[in-house]
């Protein structure tokens, strides 16, 4: 089947884009009659696969770091980068315990979490949400005080599950995830200046810079797509 990768372009997409991209893919096929396949995994895994020669057409990363990485290795084409969407960081709590707060320099996470409450997010040194959370907490001067209370999950979804089930007293997730979760409430949004902007950069993979793939990339950042992104709570730029 090696031919298939040529016929039908494969889009490497961060797992958090799963829903939106599937809908956009359907819309693309409906509009152009062309098929498109996706591979959803962690941005890091996808980057490593590109490095190993995976014949993907487009790489949609969940953060700039991994896009910079592939660019640096000359795997993706810098000039094609688009950043159509972003996200914001929110503090969530189990719905039954939720009470709105405001996060600023004087807000104490330690008091907020209580005696032994934990705060769930992604792995703070590798999963993007965790990295953002750590940066935000650090810039707020809170990281050193609560770093042993931070539990790092394998993905945003797993962090969400910990809060949903009340195992963690609170969580730091993307607004998109919070929007679809059932038993959690957003109690605060992190100040935008407490962390670098959360962005989803897309680029075409080296050697795949064809007319068709350009059209696909354009569609992924075009108006139809943006409507869908909005539906799933992304911040559309």
């Amino acid at each position: 089947r090696p031919a298939q990768a040529q016929d039908v372009p494969t889009v490497f997409a961060a797992a958090s884009l799963t829903n939106a991209f599937q809908d956009i893919g359907a819309a693309y096929t409906a509009k152009t009659g062309k098929k498109v396949t996706f591979s959803f995994a962690a941005s890091s895994a996808l980057a490593k696969q590109l490095e190993a020669g995976a014949p993907a057409a487009i790489f949609a990363s969940a953060d700039n770091k991994w896009m910079d990485y592939t660019e640096g290795k000359d795997l993706t084409i810098k000039s094609t980068r688009v950043t159509p969407i972003g996200n914001s960081l929110v503090l969530i709590m189990p719905a039954d315990k939720a009470k709105p707060v405001t996060i600023d320099k004087s807000f104490s996470f330690a008091d907020f979490l209580g005696a032994d409450g934990k705060i769930a997010t992604g792995l703070t040194d590798s999963v993007p949400i965790g990295i953002y959370a750590k940066t935000a907490l650090t810039s707020l001067g809170q990281w050193d005080k609560i770093k042993d209370r931070v539990v790092g999950a394998e993905s945003v979804r797993a962090a969400l599950a910990l809060v949903e089930r009340g195992e963690a007293a609170a969580g730091i997730v993307y607004s998109t995830d919070a929007a679809i979760a059932k038993n959690v409430k957003v109690v605060a949004t992190f100040p935008a200046d407490s962390h670098p902007p959360v962005e989803y950069p897309f680029e075409i993979v080296k050697g795949q810079d064809t007319e068709a793939n350009r059209a696909l990339l354009a569609f992924l950042s075009g108006p139809e797509a943006k409507a869908i992104y909005e539906k799933y709570g992304f911040v559309v730029k």
């Binding site: 490593k48 696969q49 979804r157």
Partner: protein, 230 residues
């Protein structure tokens, strides 16, 4: 219980991967178990250790190592592609390799235990009756270690059905090609309304596991009767 077409694709793919992973790894596992249980050669300890590596390493690392070795630019993969036209990345064949590699230590271990339990006196008896080593292996050793081989096959199927980390890292998560049930479950958990889908797929996994077990038990009973170990 109704599955969506996508889910069916994942289920059928999982079955295919588990089946081929088992079929390919069994003979090799038997050969390796034989080497480990019956022979001595320099570097055997190292070899023995290597066999257990896929078990001891995080599956993601196993996948990553596979990627490095067998990817399109991998030090083995590039020749596979060049000489034989075999492409593993993104393909079902690659998913099969990942599943086979991860289950390999389990299969070898089960077969090895069974092999060590075979009475060597019977093998000697067969040789005095004119059977050479290969003949003895096929007619005496192999049938007598059948329960172990079956058990190894069951472990291989089960672990292939559950394999996630190495697969997604090595061959990514491509629908219809490499998206087996576990990967579909992973994707489902990243969808807002994915919980029901995840639950359905978990249920399918469980059913498949029971089916495999049932089948293996049936075969096992027959085998045991055949080899007189009832």
């Amino acid at each position: 219980m109704m599955l969506t077409p996508d889910e069916w694709t994942a289920v059928l793919l999982s079955l295919k991967v588990a089946f081929w992973a088992t079929v390919w790894s069994l003979p090799i596992a038997i050969a390796v178990a034989f080497l480990l249980a019956r022979t001595n050669f320099p570097g055997k300890g190292l070899f023995d250790g290597l066999i257990y590596m896929p078990l001891v390493l995080p599956k993601v690392v196993v996948g990553y190592l596979l990627l490095i070795a067998l990817g399109a630019r991998g030090f083995i993969g590039q020749y596979l592609a060049e000489w034989f036209g075999i492409k593993l990345i993104f393909t079902t064949a690659g998913a099969t390799v990942a599943a086979a590699v991860v289950s390999f230590p389990l299969t070898v271990n089960a077969i090895r235990l069974a092999l060590e339990a075979v009475d060597r006196g019977l093998e000697t008896a067969a040789r005095t009756l004119g059977a050479n080593r290969v003949d003895v292996f096929c007619t005496i050793t192999l049938p007598l270690m059948m329960p172990g081989i079956l058990s190894g096959a069951l472990l291989a199927i089960a672990s292939a059905l559950g394999e996630f980390g190495a697969t997604i890292t090595f061959v990514s998560n491509v629908e219809g090609q490499t998206r087996t049930i576990p990967l579909a479950i992973y994707s489902a958990t990243h969808m807002p309304d994915g919980d029901a889908m995840a639950a359905r797929l978990v249920a399918v996994s469980v059913v498949l596991a029971f089916a495999a077990l049932l089948l293996s038990n049936l075969v096992d009973r027959r085998v045991r009767i055949l080899i007189g170990r009832t």
